[in-house]
C-alpha cells in the first residue's frame, strides 16, 4: 500500500505491504539507519522514534497507521549533534557500544520537552523501557540532568 507521512519534516511516500513496521521502512526503504533493531517485540526500545512528539517503538507500528503522521528520527533531532541531549550525551561520554543510544536519546529529548527539569524518579520512569546491554544507565541519568542545564542556558 502507498502511505504518505512526514519524516524529519519532509513529506515522504512509500509503497510497501501494509503490515511492514515503521522500523523497517525507516531503515531499509528510507535508508535512515539511526533507528535500531534490537528485539522486534517492543521490549528494548532501541527502535524509538518520536511520533508527533511522543516516543514510540517503531518496530510495533505498522506502516498502515502512519498516513498523515509526523515522525522524527535521531537523524532529525539534529544532524550535527547540536541538540542539547546529543551534546550532553557527548559531554558525559555516555555510549559504550552505542547501539541503544539513538533510542535513549529520542525518549530523553521527549522527556525534556515535557519536563524541562526531570527528577531521578521522572527519569527512571520514562527511561525504564530502554535496554542498554552495556548498562550505561548511570551516565544516562547524569546526561539527562546535564541536558536540562543546557536547555536553560541557551
Amino acid at each position: 500500500m502507498s502511505v504518505t507521512f512526514k519524516v524529519n519534516g519532509q513529506s515522504t511516500t512509500v509503497d510497501v505491504s501494509s503490515d511492514t513496521p515503521l522500523l523497517w521502512v525507516l531503515r531499509d526503504v528510507l535508508d535512515l539507519k539511526g533507528t535500531k533493531f534490537g528485539c522486534g517485540i517492543g521490549q528494548c526500545s532501541a527502535c524509538t522514534v518520536q511520533l508527533d512528539g511522543e516516543p514510540q517503538r517503531a518496530c510495533q507500528i505498522p506502516i498502515s497507521s502512519m498516513e498523515g503522521m509526523e515522525v522524527t528520527t535521531i537523524e532529525g533531532l539534529s544532524s550535527d549533534g547540536s541538540h542539547p541531549v546529543q551534546q550532553a550525551w557527548m559531554e558525559v561520554d555516555v555510549p559504550q557500544c552505542g547501539y541503544c543510544q539513538a533510542g535513549q536519546i529520542m525518549t530523553a529529548a521527549a522527556l525534556l520537552a515535557r519536563i524541562p527539569h526531570p527528577s531521578d524518579t521522572d527519569i527512571d520512569r520514562e527511561m525504564n523501557s530502554h535496554l542498554c546491554r552495556c548498562a550505561t544507565y548511570l551516565r544516562i541519568r547524569e546526561a539527562i540532568h546535564r541536558a536540562a542545564t543546557i536547555v536553560v542556558t541557551e
Partner: protein
C-alpha cells in the same frame, strides 16, 4: 621513499614513508607477527606486538589507524590517546580510522581477553615517541640547531632561543628523510607529564552515535543488496531433511529459498534454510511459513534438569580426574573443628548483545567481500575460506563497529552463514538474525557445578578445601568452551590442604567466552563459599579474606608473568574497598545487608562491596556498589575506564538477578528479552563508586575483571540481609520473602 631500521635486540622496526599527497606515514611493525589467537586461554607470545600507524598531513591533522575491532570497550579511543600523548599533539587534531582486516600489516586484530591494553601500551608509546623524535630531528636539520635545543607542544616544534616554530604538518615531508630512532631505546615521557593519557576523553565515535550515523554491521548497505534470514535447527547441529521451499519462494518479495546442508562443527556452518528477499521484513515474514523436517540428532532429549541430575550423581563418586592436590585434605578435614559442605551451580547464560548477529557478504568474480561486526575477523575469514573453499587471499573483511559483543563475536558462525548464502545468490546479501535466533543460537556461558567441602580449625583458620567440579566434556577433558579451572585458580596455594577434582558430562550445547570467562562463574562459587566459612567460624568475612590472602605459598615454577594472583595487590584493593565503604562500621536496617568479594582475572585485581535490600515480598534492590581495582600504573582513559567498570558491575548484577538459559528437549527455552531479562534503568543503583589503585605494575585491561566479584558480593549481601545463602543462580529462582 622509505627508511627502515631495526630495534637492536627486539624484532620491531619503524618504517617511515612520504605520502603522495604530502605528509608522512609512520608505521611500526613487528618482524614476526604473533598469531591472532588471543582470546582467553591463549596468551600471546609476547606482551605486545608492534603495529601502530600514524599519518601526519600538511593540514596538521594526525590520523591514527585503529586496528582492533571496537565493540564498546573503547579501544578506538584509548589506544590512539597513548600514541597522541607521546607524539605530543593536541587531541582535537587527532582523527582515528578503523583498519580493515590485514594481518600482514597489523598482526593480531581481535578483541577479547582484555588484552589490547597490555599488548599495545608500550608499543603505542614508543611509536608516538619515535615519530616525535623524527619531527624534532627534521626541524633541527632545517634550522641548523641541535635537536636538544628544541621542544614540542601540541603538534608544534619550538626553538626557544630564536623563537622559531614549525608545525608537525609543515615538517612532515622532511621528517620522512630522517633516520628513525631505535624503538627499544627511544626516550619516553615521564608519566607525570602526561596531558592526554589519564584524562577523561569522550569516545571518538560519539558524534556519529548520537546523530545516528550508519556505523554498525547491521547498517551496511550495498547497491542491489538482498536481505537474508537463516533458520537453523532448534536442536544444535540438527540437519534439514526437507523444507517447503516452493511455498517460500511464492511469498511476497522472496527471491530465493534454499537448504544449506551444513556440517557438524557447532562453531561453524550448521544446516538450515536460507530465505533471501528484497527486504528483511519480507524475508522474516516468509519465515513464519517455513516448515522443516529436521534430523535432530542424538541430543534432542538433553535438558538442564538432566544435566543437574547427572552432576548430582557424579558428585557421589570420586572425581573422574584428580586435577590438583596439595597437602592431605582428607586428613585435615578429619581433624577439623568444623566442616562446611555446600553445592554450588551456575546456569548457561546468553550474551544478548543488543545488535543481533549480522553480516553482509558479496561474492563476485571469485572474490568475497565481507562486512562484519566481529571480534575475530581473521578467524571469520579463515573459517569462510576452509568451509566454502575460497582462497583466504580472495576474501576481504571490513570490520564494522559492534553493537556489543561480550565475547559472542569471537565466534564467526554468522559470517560463514552470510558468505555461504551470498555465494549461492551472487548479489550482495545482508544476513540479519532475529533476536530469537540470537538468543537460541549463542555460544553460551557454560554452566558449572561445584561440590565443596571446607574445614576450619579451632581458631577459624581454613585448613582444608575440596572442590569436586562437574563440567561438560568427554574423555576426561572439558570440551572447547566448557567451564574449566586452572590448577592455580584461587584458592589453590592459599589453603595448605587443597584438592580439585573434575568430572564431565557429555553435551552438545555451543558454549564459549562471555565477559570474564570462567571467572564469572568461579568467583561466585569461591567467594560465596568463603563467606559461608567465615559465618560458620564466626569471623568477619573481610577478616577471613585477609587471613586467607596472608596464607599464600608460592609454588615452584610459574605460569608466566602477571598470570598468577599476587596476594599483596589483592590485599591492597580489599583494604581500599573496605575503607571506602566503611565496611563493618555502618548500622543497616533489617532486610538490608552488605557483601564483599574479590577476584583476580585478566591480570586485574578487583574487590567489591555491594549493599542490597530485600523487600518483604522478596524483591532485591541494589543500593550501592563500591569498587576498588588495580590494573597497574596507568588508567589510559578515565572516562572509558569508569564506564567499563560500572558496565561490568551492572552486567554482573543483571546475571545474578535473573539471567538463565535453560535447555529442554535439546533446545533453548528462552527466546527474547521478556524471558531473558537485561538490567533496566530502575534496577541500577544511583551510585557505583570506582576507585583505581595505581601500582607499579604495567597497565592492563578493563573490559572484564570488574565483573566477577560483584556476583558473590551481591549474593553475600543477600545473606547478610536475609540469612538466605544463595548457592544457585539466578536470584529469580529463589524465594527471598521474609517477615
Amino acid at each position: 621513499m622509505a627508511t627502515t631500521i631495526s630495534g637492536l635486540d627486539r624484532r620491531e622496526f619503524l618504517r617511515v614513508t612520504t605520502l603522495a599527497g604530502g605528509g608522512v606515514l609512520f608505521g611500526a611493525y613487528s618482524a614476526s607477527p604473533v598469531s591472532a589467537g588471543v582470546l582467553e586461554g591463549s596468551e600471546p607470545a609476547a606482551d605486545f606486538a608492534l603495529n601502530v600507524f600514524i599519518r601526519i598531513t600538511p593540514d596538521d591533522l594526525v590520523t591514527i589507524i585503529s586496528k582492533n575491532p571496537e565493540i564498546g570497550q573503547g579501544i578506538k579511543t584509548s589506544l590512539p590517546m597513548i600514541v597522541a600523548e607521546e607524539l605530543d599533539v593536541a587531541w582535537r587534531n587527532v582523527r582515528v580510522e578503523q583498519a580493515p582486516l590485514d594481518t600482514e600489516r597489523f598482526t593480531a586484530q581481535s578483541a577479547g581477553g582484555s588484552y589490547a591494553t597490555p599488548r599495545n601500551y608500550d608499543a603505542m608509546r614508543r611509536t608516538g615517541a619515535a615519530a616525535r623524535h623524527m619531527l624534532v630531528a627534521a626541524a633541527a636539520a632545517m634550522w641548523g640547531v641541535p635537536a636538544s635545543a628544541l621542544t614540542t607542544v601540541s603538534g608544534v616544534v619550538l626553538h626557544g632561543a630564536s623563537g622559531r616554530r614549525a608545525t608537525y604538518g609543515e615538517l612532515a615531508d622532511r621528517a620522512a628523510a630522517m633516520t628513525p630512532p631505535d624503538l627499544a631505546n627511544v626516550p619516553l615521557k615521564d608519566p607525570k607529564d602526561f596531558k592526554i593519557v589519564g584524562t577523561r576523553v569522550s569516545g571518538v565515535d560519539n558524534l556519529g552515535i548520537v546523530t545516528g550515523k550508519p556505523m554498525f554491521g547491521i547498517d551496511v548497505t550495498l547497491p542491489g543488496m538482498k536481505y537474508a534470514v537463516f533458520g537453523k535447527c532448534p536442536v544444535f547441529g540438527g540437519k534439514v531433511l526437507s523444507a517447503n521451499l516452493d511455498e517460500l519462494v511464492a511469498e511476497p518479495g522472496v527471491q530465493h529459498a534454499f537448504i544449506v546442508p551444513g556440517g557438524d562443527n557447532l562453531a561453524g556452518l550448521l544446516g538450515g534454510v536460507a530465505i533471501v528477499a528484497d527486504s528483511w521484513w519480507q524475508a522474516n515474514k516468509a519465515r513464519r511459513k517455513l516448515r522443516v523436517e529436521w534430523a535432530e540428532g542424538a541430543h534432542a532429549n538433553d535438558s538442564s534438569v538432566g544435566f543437574a541430575a547427572r552432576a548430582a550423581r557424579l558428585s557421589k563418586s570420586e572425581p573422574e580426574v584428580a586435577s590438583t592436590q596439595d597437602g592431605d585434605p582428607d586428613a585435615a578435614l578429619a581433624g577439623a573443628a568444623k566442616i562446611v559442605e555446600a553445592e554450588y551451580s551456575y546456569p548457561f547464560i546468553a550474551h544478548a548483545s543488543l545488535e543481533p548477529q549480522n553480516c553482509t557478504a558479496h561474492f563476485h568474480d571469485g572474490q568475497l567481500d565481507i562486512w562484519a561486526p566481529t571480534q575475530s575477523p581473521e578467524r571469520g575469514r579463515d573459517m569462510i575460506a576452509s568451509t566454502l573453499g575460497i582462497d583466504a587471499d580472495a576474501i576481504t573483511v571490513r570490520i564494522t563497529r559492534s553493537g556489543g559483543a561480550f565475547g559472542r563475536r569471537g565466534n564467526t558462525d554468522y559470517m560463514v552463514e552470510a558468505a555461504a548464502i551470498a555465494k549461492e545468490v551472487g548479489a550482495p546479501v545482508k544476513l540479519v538474525w532475529s533476536r530469537e535466533d540470537d538468543m537460541q543460537h549463542d555460544f553460551y556461558r557454560p554452566a558449572g557445578f561445584h561440590y565443596l567441602k571446607g574445614g576450619l580449625d579451632g581458631d577459624g583458620k581454613v585448613v582444608a578445601w575440596k572442590n569436586h567440579f562437574v563440567t561438560f566434556g568427554t574423555g576426561g577433558r572439558p570440551d572447547h568452551g566448557a567451564a574449566s579451572m586452572r590448577a592455580t585458580e584461587f584458592p589453590a596455594r592459599f589453603v595448605s590442604n587443597y584438592e580439585l577434582g573434575t568430572s564431565f558430562i557429555p553435551y552438545n550445547i555451543p558454549t564459549g567466552y562471555l565477559r570474564a570467562p570462567r571467572s564469572n562463574g568461579l568467583a561466585f562459587v569461591m567467594q560465596s563459599f568463603i563467606d559461608e566459612l567465615a559465618h560458620s567460624a564466626g569471623i568477619d568475612p573481610l577478616e577471613l579474606r585477609y587471613d586467607i590472602l596472608s596464607a599464600y605459598k608460592a609454588a615452584e615454577g610459574s605460569e608466566g608473568r602477571g598470570r598468577i594472583l599476587d596476594p599483596a595487590r589483592m590485599r591492597d584493593v580489599l583494604q581500599l574497598v573496605a575503607n571506602r565503604s566503611a565496611w563493618g562500621k555502618v548500622e543497616l536496617p533489617r532486610g538490608t545487608g552488605r557483601g564483599i568479594a574479590f577476584h583476580f582475572s585478566h591480570r586485574g585485581y578487583f574487590a567489591e562491596v555491594v549493599e542490597a535490600s530485600v523487600s518483604n515480598s522478596g524483591v532485591v534492590s541494589v543500593n550501592k556498589v563500591w569498587v576498588a581495582g588495580d590494573v597497574g600504573s596507568q588508567i589510559v582513559n578515565l572516562s572509558g575506564a569508569e564506564n567499563q567498570v560500572q558496565g561490568a558491575v551492572l552486567d554482573g548484577i543483571a546475571q545474578t538477578l535473573g539471567q538463565e538459559v535453560t535447555i529442554d528437549r535439546g533446545r533453548v527455552v528462552q527466546s527474547n528479552f521478556h524471558d531473558f531479562p537485561l538490567l533496566r534503568l530502575k534496577q541500577a543503583p544511583p551510585e557505583i563508586e570506582v576507585h583505581f589503585l595505581k601500582t607499579g605494575a604495567a597497565p592492563t585491561g578493563l573490559g572484564e575483571p570488574a565483573l566477577p566479584p560483584v556476583v558473590p558480593a551481591l549474593c553475600n549481601a543477600i545473606f547478610a540481609a536475609t540469612g538466605k545463602r544463595i548457592r544457585t543462580l539466578p536470584l529469580s529462582n529463589h524465594d527471598l520473602r521474609w517477615t
